[in-house]
């Protein structure tokens, strides 16, 4: 039971001492990427190897006076970030990072050998692809070196299932600080820090809190939005799985500041581990007196429930999320009144995103000035991104606001895969926009992204190379949004459908030049007329690609050509004169008699007749049928 700040410090110190008594700590990444590449098996193999050498120990064992000294602790951590090279194993205290560790073979034995001999297994270390230098520790690796971790400060380091591990990192001291202050003072700090909503819009969290705090009512709610539905984003998932206590602590502080006594965490159903972890975290915090009744012996009580979503993207929108918690169809409603005035069951409700809440405790512990010293004047702090797509180093990253796009894609991301050309960066998912090479120098913060027609979104960053067709990507996003539109307002329901049909026509090769202006006209109407953020931002990918890649659209509608070689219906099938042996097989299978020729000369495909059914392509034994884009 934790009753005072001193109790926390005692846990922190004892746990820290236990860690120091250990010979080493093996932190095996159990983020989604590493698990899928087999990290749980690596963990089992490491434990097995250590046990055979009589080296395995636990924190509990080290905490006991008679416990085994000098053993090795093993931990399954949350995402360590460099998913590309998983499964990852970090050896502490040295901070040596082993990549692509395999459970079978010699890797595990070599890691334990090296730990005992105080050496490094070089072939498992990161090799710089350009200089071929071996970089054993995280601090040396460019992917990590240029990051600043605030929201992810503990992710990949703490044991997410052990509350003491979180306390060892200073956890819950932000809550203790908050409870020593008056609610208005806590609110004041968050306002001064100018912590802006990391869920996409960038609305200052403190202003939301202030509105809710000002409401005089018997009951208020604090909701954590963990409905991370953006395709291509997994930041919130990583925090909820890898450092769930930071989210709970943030909620508790927010609840205290606004005068709420009940909170909900709304999590996507697709994240079963996050749901399980959060439930356990809430239980643990409650058992330790850090949640529930009379927290830290104060008058403040706060209960937290976990609500599983049921698979609807629109529920990431505040009013739809509230409808969903109330047991209804997740449909948005007109604002005002804003949820902070009238939200869940008509009561004042603050909804903050997972990452926003993960910043809160640290602002209280380290101070407003510290927070404002990171990032830009109007967007202080950091932002996490899920860096994916055709970039060399994919993974979970966190950078100070104000880094340039170039820093992110090239310095941290290591550039485009296989030395290909950068074409665009889709930032902010289906609500965001597509940036081009000419935007590489812009700084990434809430306002400068808006200026170029993109938006921060929740932080998905998908890098596209020359082999990606932006028209097809725009169609893909529109298809997603159209499917996920709740159907309440006409502009979103009908407008997105019309836009999708036009885009489908274009990628199918039936587009016309006028379609491009029509897309802009409908897009602007949808932006203006939709009820909620989903609809208002839905046309962004189309409008931004139209602005930045008009030539590519024109190639589709005028030349009926897909320069990236993606749109299936826009290719031509031709017969290579050199390879064709005039065997007649293709002529036989062509259902529309589009192929002509005689025994002596190579065959030809009549493009006007060809329906691109690929029958000839499949049947040709000489590879003479070629696809030309």
């Amino acid at each position: 039971m934790i009753k005072t700040r001193q109790d926390m410090i005692t846990v922190q110190e004892r746990y820290g001492q236990a860690l120091q008594r250990a010979k080493a700590r093996f932190v095996v990444c159990a983020g989604p990427g590493c698990v899928a590449s087999g990290s749980l098996q690596v963990y089992e193999a490491l434990v097995q190897e250590l046990k055979e050498r009589n080296l395995h120990t636990t924190v509990d064992c080290l905490l006991e006076a008679e416990g085994q000294r000098d053993g090795v602790i093993t931990v399954n951590s949350g995402c360590q970030g460099f998913c590309q090279l998983g499964p990852l194993v970090r050896v502490e205290p040295e901070g040596i990072l082993y990549t692509k560790v395999k459970a079978d073979g010699d890797d595990v034995r070599e890691i334990v050998d090296a730990m005992e001999a105080h050496t490094v297994v070089t072939h498992l270390c990161y090799h710089d692809p350009r200089t071929h230098a071996i970089m054993p520790t995280e601090q040396e690796i460019p992917f990590y070196k240029h990051q600043t971790r605030v929201a992810l400060a503990n992710c990949g380091i703490v044991d997410p299932e052990d509350i003491r591990s979180y306390m060892q990192r200073g956890g819950y001291q932000g809550l203790a600080t908050a409870l020593e202050l008056a609610p208005e003072e806590v609110l004041g700090k968050i306002l001064q820090a100018n912590l802006r909503g990391r869920g996409g819009g960038g609305f200052p969290a403190g202003r939301k809190w202030a509105i809710a705090a000002a409401q005089k009512t018997d009951h208020k709610y604090m909701i954590c939005n963990g409905d991370e539905g953006d395709p291509g984003a997994f930041m919130d998932r990583s925090i909820m799985e890898g450092d769930p206590h930071s989210v709970i602590e943030g909620m508790l502080i927010a609840g205290y500041a606004i005068g709420a006594s009940e909170g909900y965490i709304y999590v996507r159903a697709e994240y079963p581990l996050a749901v399980q972890r959060l439930r356990q975290t809430i239980d643990d915090a409650t058992k330790h007196g850090l949640a529930g009744k009379n927290i830290l012996g104060s008058d403040f009580s706060f209960v937290i429930h976990v609500k599983e979503g049921a698979g609807a993207f629109v529920c990431g929108e505040e009013s739809a999320l509230i409808a969903s918690i109330e047991g209804d169809r997740g449909m948005s409603r007109p604002k005002p009144p804003f949820p902070a005035v009238s939200g869940l069951w008509g009561k004042p409700t603050v909804i903050n995103n997972v990452e926003t809440l993960a910043n809160v405790a640290q602002i209280l512990v380290k101070g407003v000035d510290w927070f404002r010293s990171i990032g830009t004047e109007d967007s202080p702090g950091t932002k996490t991104f899920a860096l994916t797509g055709e970039v060399e180093n994919t993974g979970l990253i966190e950078v100070p606001m104000g880094k340039t796009l170039k820093d992110i894609v090239f310095t941290i991301g290591g550039g485009i895969r296989d030395g290909r050309q950068l074409k665009g960066v889709q930032i902010g998912g289906p609500s965001g926009g597509c940036l081009t090479e000419s935007h590489l120098e812009i700084i990434v913060d809430f306002d400068s992204l808006k200026e170029v027609g993109a938006m921060m979104g929740s932080g998905g960053m998908v890098v596209m190379d020359e082999n990606t067709c932006v028209v097809e990507v725009a169609r893909f996003f529109m298809n997603f949004i159209q499917h996920e539109s709740c159907g309440k307002c006409t502009f979103c329901r009908e407008g997105t459908l019309q836009m999708l049909q036009i885009l489908q026509r274009i990628v199918d090769g039936h587009g016309e030049v006028e379609d491009l202006d029509l897309l802009i006209e409908i897009g602007e109407a949808v932006q203006l007329g939709s009820l909620c953020g989903l609809g208002k931002s839905a046309p962004n990918p189309v409008l931004s690609t139209l602005a930045n890649f008009r030539d590519e659209y024109l190639a589709h509608v005028v030349d009926k050509r897909c320069p990236a070689g993606v749109c299936h219906n826009l290719r031509r099938l031709v017969i290579s004169e050199e390879k064709c042996r005039s065997c007649w097989l293709c002529v036989k299978v062509c259902p529309v008699n589009a192929i002509s020729g005689s025994r002596k000369e190579p065959y030809k495909i009549n493009q006007e007749k060809c329906i691109k059914c690929d029958a000839c392509l499949t049947v040709c034994r000489f590879g003479a049928i070629e696809e030309v884009y």
């Binding site: 989604p32 079963p272 997740g330 998908v462």
Partner: protein
């Protein structure tokens, strides 16, 4: 998450009001409990039987239309029994640009899914696309009954289906 797979016949036979009453006892009968109740039924039966919808409506004092409205709004709920193996193909942005659709098409072809259907005749496989599974670095990703498979290709999916097919016959 529970990944136990029931045989379809077993699932259909196992829907009884006793189960529903147990769920109701846990969740209560407030409107806010509707989605958790439907989730429990969906997990147990792998779909929402008509009988269950009518019963839940009565228990919560809602119209059948309201419950039906909620059941059809969310992607998680299905009004038809799902297959023994539910295969979700991630079609999030990262997976999409790295080729999820060819995998999807290869899979549909492999399990002989007719156009417009997502579950095979023999209720062995359900094939769906999902927006994002949050494992973008492994793109393209699929899950089979919540087990994750990364870096999927059309060839790989065929091998996986072969293996599942063998397991399926062993169990039956």
């Amino acid at each position: 998450m529970n990944t136990t797979v029931l045989g379809t016949e077993e699932a259909e036979a196992s829907f009884d009001l006793g189960f529903l009453n147990e769920v109701l006892a846990k969740t209560g009968t407030s409107t806010a409990a509707l989605i958790p109740i439907l989730q429990a039924v969906q997990e147990k039966c792998r779909y929402l039987p008509e009988e269950a919808i009518i019963h839940v409506a009565a228990a919560l004092g809602l119209s059948v239309a309201t419950v039906y409205g909620v059941a059809t709004f969310y992607a998680q709920f299905s009004l038809e029994p799902k297959g023994k193996y539910v295969i979700k193909i991630c079609d999030g942005t990262a997976c999409h640009v790295r080729g999820s659709i060819p995998v999807y098409e290869a899979l549909r072809k492999r399990v002989n899914l007719e156009d417009g259907r997502s579950t095979t005749e023999n209720r062995m496989y359900t094939v769906e696309t999902v927006a994002c599974l949050g494992a973008c670095v492994l793109a393209p990703v699929i899950t089979i009954n919540d087990q994750v498979y990364g870096h999927m290709t059309a060839d790989a999916i065929n091998i996986i289906i072969d293996t599942l097919g063998q397991e399926g016959t062993e169990h039956d």
